[in-house]
Symmetry: C2
Subunit: 389 residues, 2 copies
């Protein structure tokens, strides 16, 4: 196990009707608030009205900025920053999924910085301040409600970039599983893929003696494998919706990689794909992850056997560990398919002509190779993509 | 799953040599510090000198109070409170195990209260303020390094009582598994029993649909079952010592009971036993827990089958769930024995003549019966104790 520091300051407020507490929560932290949200979904569902009512009841002074799109855009972030400066905003409330929260986090750091926010995404500046932010979560997927990360897309330049800082970890996250009943099946499936990918990025590590966190990761994956099909079969099933929602947060609040080093190359490859293709992040991951695992499993067969046996209940072939390892990957792939997710690039109309660009972009900011479990170079990335054709 | 709030503000600083960071950490939080510790062990091991050196290097102004004993005493708490008031202490640093930390927490609340600290332990006053506290942990067991609880014993009156408040959760916990190499085998075993009990108190719940936290509990128990024998066989094994130490913290920082309701009757019964007998808490628990489980398993056989199969790898008798349930309890008991722990009251020289007193004391502050999984009344408690004879 490696040395580590762990602290997560997000207060989780979980359960039925908790969105009604948002006004009182916001009031504790801010006097001038930016309410940030996405498209019309929260207006149709009535959540928008509930949030406004709660904010008004608590006499919260707020301004609004809606319109966040999936793969949230730099242009809107810049608009938010200008608004925050103009109105001296001291707290940002996101109502939505990972895209809205990521957008809010980027606004939060940009508004407290004299230069352009995009500097942070190219390591040209270090995050030293941020407006505090809070969340009403509607989509369990990105884990952004309690994570230190934000991913923003510069659409005109087809560029998707990431920042990370403890300063952007939300102060609170209000999570009512009932708010996820109306998610389309495809979005529930994409969220499942994203959550499982967050765990698997951490699971495939070269750090030895990580028994406890291995087991916590396996528990989180098994929870998703058990509950995602139940939620798809019965979208208003509180039990499975709540398991998924809580697992989605713990999958990405840094608890599961205490003492380990994760890989993250699948996320990096997927970011390049969805930067040029605008595919949903979870769908991009369901294509890349099985291909990635098929490409790297020989690096540590014992770990892949553990993954197969403990996570996928594969009946172990003791004399043929490779067979067991491959069966685990096959079960992951077939599970993702069963959720209605794509597992091949052809399903999102991406062919070999994009491989060079994806590989080059991935490597551009990773001089030392992409990922930590196995270092990937241009040809490796192209080989992985070929396995997903 | 029940609605819940979860926030744990302890920054975990984990790994080799981390005790050297204590001065810098304390300096962030306090200007006048009480250094609190136990008997001579930290002086013999050299840890005391390391801590003093680090505090001096960071120019921390501190006073000292040593002498905390297992089952920490109210008298020393009162002494600490007087010291804190006299020297206007604004931060308390504990160096030791759960007893030292619990003692520090009681001092922390008592020093910021005009009445007598014992009021809090009888719900005669509500905790509204506390001096912040930090920890250098030497014994993985009580989980006090990141918990909201403290247990203090009024020895002259043989009275052991508990308080809980988010205000006493430590600000940081420095955890170097190497510091646990010199623990006597019996103390390692007692710590294991305590950690497992913290998980099992949460595991046996009447709340339905708690799949994810069930699995996290099971992972924590399996981690202890796998690693405790390794640490006993090789006390300087960093791998197993680190798994035990990290599991011990997560077992009791409230993560594992998010959305559930724990039982805690075993802890309440054990507190009465160690209040009159001064047996180590973990040893008291290893006596009471198997007996308790044998007494209540019929209340929810399915849950006990799950415990047996998932935690103890019992080969399930599908046609005879009771047999499977009992085999799980038997394996727990035999595991505790294998660690060198007592599992019968006769081993700590306690006989039936004390049962009345234990049962009456337990019930005294629990009008509505003891525990939440199954409500226990005087006769139930006596029956459980009989099963442990």
């Amino acid at each position: 196990m490696q040395n580590f520091r762990f602290l997560n300051k997000t207060e989780i407020i979980f359960g039925k009707d908790t969105q009604k507490e948002v006004g009182a929560e916001v009031k504790k932290h801010g006097s001038k608030v930016l309410l940030h949200y996405g498209s019309g979904h929260i207006k149709k569902s009535g959540l928008y009205d509930e949030v406004i009512e709660s904010l008004n009841e608590s006499n919260v002074d707020f301004i609004e900025l809606g319109g966040v799109k999936p793969n949230p855009r730099l242009a809107l972030v810049r608009e938010g920053i200008a608004l925050c400066r103009e109105h001296k905003v001291d707290f940002i409330l996101s109502v939505g999924g990972g895209s809205v929260i990521d957008s809010a986090k980027a606004i939060a750091v940009g508004a407290r910085y004299d230069g352009d926010v995009w500097d942070f995404f190219y390591d040209k500046a270090v995050i030293k301040q941020a407006i505090p932010n809070g969340v009403v979560l509607t989509i369990p997927a990105a884990g952004s409600e309690s994570s230190d990360g934000s991913v923003i897309t510069d659409l005109p330049n087809k560029n998707k970039r990431h920042i990370g800082s403890p300063l952007i970890i939300p102060t609170f996250a209000i999570m009512n599983p009932e708010l996820t009943y109306t998610l389309p099946a495809y979005q529930t499936a994409c969220g499942t893929s994203d959550i499982m990918a967050h765990v698997m990025e951490r699971y495939f590590t070269n750090v030895k003696d990580v028994d406890f966190t291995d087991r916590l990761c396996e528990s989180t994956l098994k929870t998703m494998i058990h509950n995602a099909p139940l939620a798809l079969a019965n979208p208003s099933d509180y039990a499975s919706r709540s398991e998924i929602m809580w697992a989605g947060t713990l999958a990405h609040n840094n608890l599961l990689d205490t003492g380990r080093e994760g890989d993250w190359s699948t996320h990096m490859i997927e970011h390049e794909i969805s930067g040029i293709n605008d595919v949903a992040h979870g769908a991009g991951l369901s294509i890349v992850f099985p291909a990635y695992l098929k490409y790297v499993y020989k690096h540590d067969i014992a770990r892949f056997v553990q993954f197969a046996v403990r996570v996928w209940n594969v009946d172990q072939s003791f004399g043929n560990p490779e067979q067991t390892a491959l069966e685990g990957i096959a079960r992951l792939e077939s599970f993702l398919k069963s959720l209605g997710l794509p597992t091949m690039l052809s399903q999102i109309d991406l062919d070999e002509s994009s491989f060079e660009r994806i590989a080059t972009n991935c490597r551009k900011t990773n001089d030392d190779g992409v990922g930590y479990f196995v270092k990937l170079y241009e040809q490796d990335i192209k080989n992985i993509l070929k396995l997903a054709l």
